[in-house]
């Protein structure tokens, strides 16, 4: 096990991004059509190698976020998802990837000001349905990212990151329904989110254009963790129950 003068192996470090947003009441992820080998022409998560020797991981994530998606660091949730380092995950050699999960508010149009404009929002349903073969192990990373988002909606105020600076309770409900993939009772949801202290706070008198009664506007509250948590109706849970 011990050679003389053993030197640890070096690896290439990449950063990959799972960028989620809501479009037309559906959860979407930003994918990029690869222009070069390997996996040329296939869809992949935005990402890239570390820019330079001294670049921090989060900094690299923000850089890719700006370069490939035109998204600035403001009004955007970013958290680390994990590291993916299977020896054969990249045919070019040993590439270890730090994956980050980003949540973007509803954007009017598909990624304004994108540099590599092969980027496109894809519904997660399509992205994971095997139709669109994702490059590398990006299907796994995407799955993990969505799972993380689903879990964090329960105990954290992450849902507000899908919305703009102000939002209505219906919009917030739309987020939960889209990410969890289940319908929720509007009345109970209304009561629930208001009862969780510090989750959302009123933001001035209301205004909305929908055809019905105007809805009140809210802003994200000071609390990041929800007590008690939002409860997700069990969907895959019953499978585990023998």
């Amino acid at each position: 096990m011990s050679d003389d003068r053993w030197v640890p192996p070096t690896v290439l470090l990449a950063v990959d991004l799972v960028i989620l947003t809501l479009r037309k009441s559906c959860l979407h992820v930003l994918l990029i059509e690869r222009g070069v080998e390997p996996y040329q022409g296939a869809l992949a998560l935005p990402g890239g190698f570390l820019g330079h020797e001294k670049e921090d991981l989060v900094t690299a994530a923000h850089r890719e976020l700006a370069e490939e998606a035109g998204l600035g660091p403001d009004q955007l949730h970013l958290e680390q998802l994990g590291v993916y380092g299977a020896p054969d995950r990249d045919p070019r050699g040993r590439v270890v990837s730090a994956a980050y999960l980003a949540i973007a508010p509803r954007l009017p149009e598909p990624v304004a000001g994108t540099d590599a404009s092969r980027a496109c929002w894809t519904s997660v349903e399509r992205a994971l349905s095997g139709d669109a073969q994702l490059a590398f192990d990006h299907e796994q990373i995407l799955t993990d990212g969505i799972d993380r988002a689903r879990e964090k909606l329960e105990r954290s105020a992450l849902a507000t990151a899908f919305c703009g600076p102000t939002f209505t309770i219906s919009e917030l409900q739309e987020v939960y329904e889209a990410v969890w993939g289940v319908p929720l009772d509007a009345r109970n949801f209304y009561r629930k989110v208001q009862s969780v202290d510090g989750f959302i706070v009123p933001a001035g008198p209301s205004r909305k254009t929908d055809g019905g009664r105007p809805a009140r506007l809210f802003r994200p509250g000071p609390c990041t963790t929800l007590h008690p948590p939002m409860m997700r109706p069990l969907s895959q849970a019953d499978r585990e129950t023998a």
Copy 2:
């Protein structure tokens, strides 16, 4: 931003382990006194560089687990914690560390068969109390590991990983109390864990030596996720509530 023939920087990849166990009703972590610079003499999490170019991350974690703690892959929970890659976290250069969280059942004696036998179980209270200055960013990694364990006790059957193949409900309660740092009502705990379907299953008639009535033995059940979750009494939660 674009040199001719830009080459992405390479990094050294390390694996660090947060190994938690219960000793004397207290949560303990395995720390190792460093024998070489940097941080010679300081306490650090067990870990090391990737063994060779083709070694998988989890494999490396298991290898370190065996080498530095004498712990085999059986009867041991291991999950990824995250990646730590601040540019200045290691004075030797750019070292990016994949952190893993391991949960070991109560061991009779301190790390039998340890190779580098500078390893010692340290109570997390001591490890985090600033007294024992941990090397690198290991205090942060340890904090994250404990937080992860605390969270996962709520929604997963992770607590059973702290116990042997069979255990009593009191032993399981000890785990929750030690990891969460709060006392729990034995009667309510008893009712609760039994009511969560598939969490624990009876394992033959009981036998225990304590002086009181013998307790029934249980094994981990088939369910990994708990529905409904175990509820942790709020401790830091009230701080967030304005």
